[in-house]
Symmetry: C2
Subunit: 349 residues, 2 copies
């Protein structure tokens, strides 16, 4: 029976990245109970010093023989490293909360947003059903936080979502590249640092490609990011046939993702009823007073936990349906916060 | 019988604005036939000098007694000035192509995108049906250029569109405000120039409000911009009942608008068939080779005439339908270019 002890020895794999740094901030901010904390990264970051709760920690190399003595791992080091090291971590008795796409759609691996489907991770006795728990894609987490309560209240039939994704989704260096290219564009001496991170220039531009394109099969023509939004949403909501059209666009914003969402529902839905449902839902905040210019914006949601949802309107396209606009911190609820909440939700059981 | 002479005396009202400057560039670039050109603006710009074809022109005040002797007016001076001055211009014998929202939905005022509905502006003898011709909203022009050929081929049933609109839609000073606020954000000394133009900060932010919100009636909860996209699209396409959900978002881009569009069609539609239709359509360019990283982006469409359309995929949400992504220069085809093309299309008749 796999379980996380109440005061675990914690390891963060990928500690020096944008999500890794957010893990450190959030573990401190939430006073996450722990016996010890170790930081791991690739060889080029070994020896780097990072602070946690006033203490200085030295980054170790993520290597097979260094992975013992850790009860709870937060992995944020990319899918290929997750595939390489997750089984090493679990063989040594650790539980892994994995932020990559490596295992998300695997049968037997719970894909968890605790407000929605904590029960996917634990059995009737409160024990973990698997030693690896998957943290969903950032855009998907934000989306399902809006969809799940609306599904419970009105039943979901179709979802059309267009994203406005920040640079942070591509990591710390990508954010710096956006800043650098923006600065040089303003100075009239364009630089081209964004291309390495986004495939294209991003300063004052939009890039309708996030991750690689899929060449064949039912997802052909979509990017991996768009396919993730479709398949992960279905798995988290337990709706394997849910009709989802996702278009993922990178925008020159630093760290909050936003999404324009239109849904068709089974039951009639009014703006007032949808607002009530969102206002009562967990993990989200209703920010919807347009005449007072209150609506979700990345500048307001960055470095905040709750996903802001507003601009709720009745659909003209569907007899039953609403459109809405949401914004949430990609590094927090979209990544590190949700992973920590997964651990918290199964520890307190 | 109202008509524009083959070599008209031209007046531009609002010549000093972003769209006004684009008029000057495009009239020169297209060698638009003319006998004379006069520039008008509000009193604070009177006396300003602007160049056209190597010649220096002095800006005059847009005033009732100055509006004689002009055969063809391009108005780009805001809805309230259009309401005030259009009838003065037409009473003096001029034809007005108006870029504001003042008359767009009026019965008897043709709302024209020449590639789509030139015939709305002229009768069987080629005479103008009205002395005021309306230029549609910028986002609407880009949208209908994609929708019209797809409608002709497959029949439109429903349209869901989310926009990514550039600063240029709010004018020249708004573009400068975005540059200024971005520069000061990078320098760590935030300024707040965008608020006056966009209602909110825009540097590294997204603003889900373009124009004012509508408080009552069937469009309640939408912005004026969103309502324009619904009603103008219906009028241009001649589909008064077309179901359209529009969400308009301002993004920190300088001058090309982009849109994520999902449509349901009457007839079955494949990606290949939709691409063929777009490739053959006027005013647009198919840019759709994702595996080669070719897709529409604002950086590529700015200062270009054609609206780029790509990322065409079959919809999962509709049995018959596609999604697509488009980008087009808001100041060109979204404003000045379309207005000039309206004049050209009725002059050559």
């Amino acid at each position: 029976m796999t379980a996380i002890p109440r005061e675990p020895r914690i390891g963060i794999a990928g500690a020096t990245g944008a999500v890794g740094q957010e893990f450190l901030r959030l573990l401190a901010e939430r006073r996450f109970p722990m016996k010890s904390l170790r930081l791991f990264a690739s060889s080029r970051s070994v020896g780097k010093r990072m602070t946690f709760g006033g203490e200085e920690l030295v980054v170790e190399e993520l290597a097979r023989d260094a992975m013992t003595g850790v009860d709870l791992w937060f992995f944020s080091c990319g899918a290929s490293r997750s595939r390489e090291f997750a089984s090493v971590a679990t063989a040594a008795g650790g539980v892994v909360v994995d932020n990559s796409s490596a295992f998300r759609l695997d049968d037997g691996v719970p894909l968890v947003v605790p407000e929605i489907n904590r029960e996917a991770a634990v059995d009737g006795d409160g024990a973990l059903v698997a030693p690896v728990l998957a943290n969903p894609n950032c855009s998907t987490i934000l989306l399902v936080l809006a969809l799940a309560p609306l599904h419970a209240a009105f039943g979901l039939r179709r979802v059309i979502v267009s994203t406005y994704q920040a640079a942070s989704g591509a990591g710390d260096q990508a954010m710096r590249a956006l800043l650098a290219d923006t600065r040089s564009a303003l100075e009239g001496e364009p630089s081209d640092e964004c291309r390495a991170h986004f495939g294209q220039p991003l300063a004052f531009n939009l890039v309708p490609q996030i991750s690689d394109f899929i060449a064949d099969g039912p997802d052909a023509g979509s990017t991996l990011e768009e396919a993730k939004m479709v398949h992960e949403t279905r798995k988290i909501l337990g709706l394997p046939q849910l009709a989802v059209d996702a278009t993922c666009i990178r925008v020159p914003v630093l760290r909050s993702h936003s999404e324009s969402v239109t849904i068709e529902t089974e039951e009639p839905v009014t703006v007032a009823a949808a607002r009530d449902v969102i206002a009562a839902a967990k993990g989200v905040e209703l920010v919807d007073d347009p005449l007072e210019r209150r609506y979700p914006m990345p500048m307001d949601t960055s470095e905040r936990d709750a996903v802001a949802i507003g601009r709720i309107r009745e659909s003209r396209v569907f007899d039953n349906g609403v459109s809405l606009w949401l914004s949430g911190d990609q590094l927090r609820k979209g990544a590190a916060l949700n992973a920590i909440q997964i651990a918290e939700s199964v520890m307190t059981s």
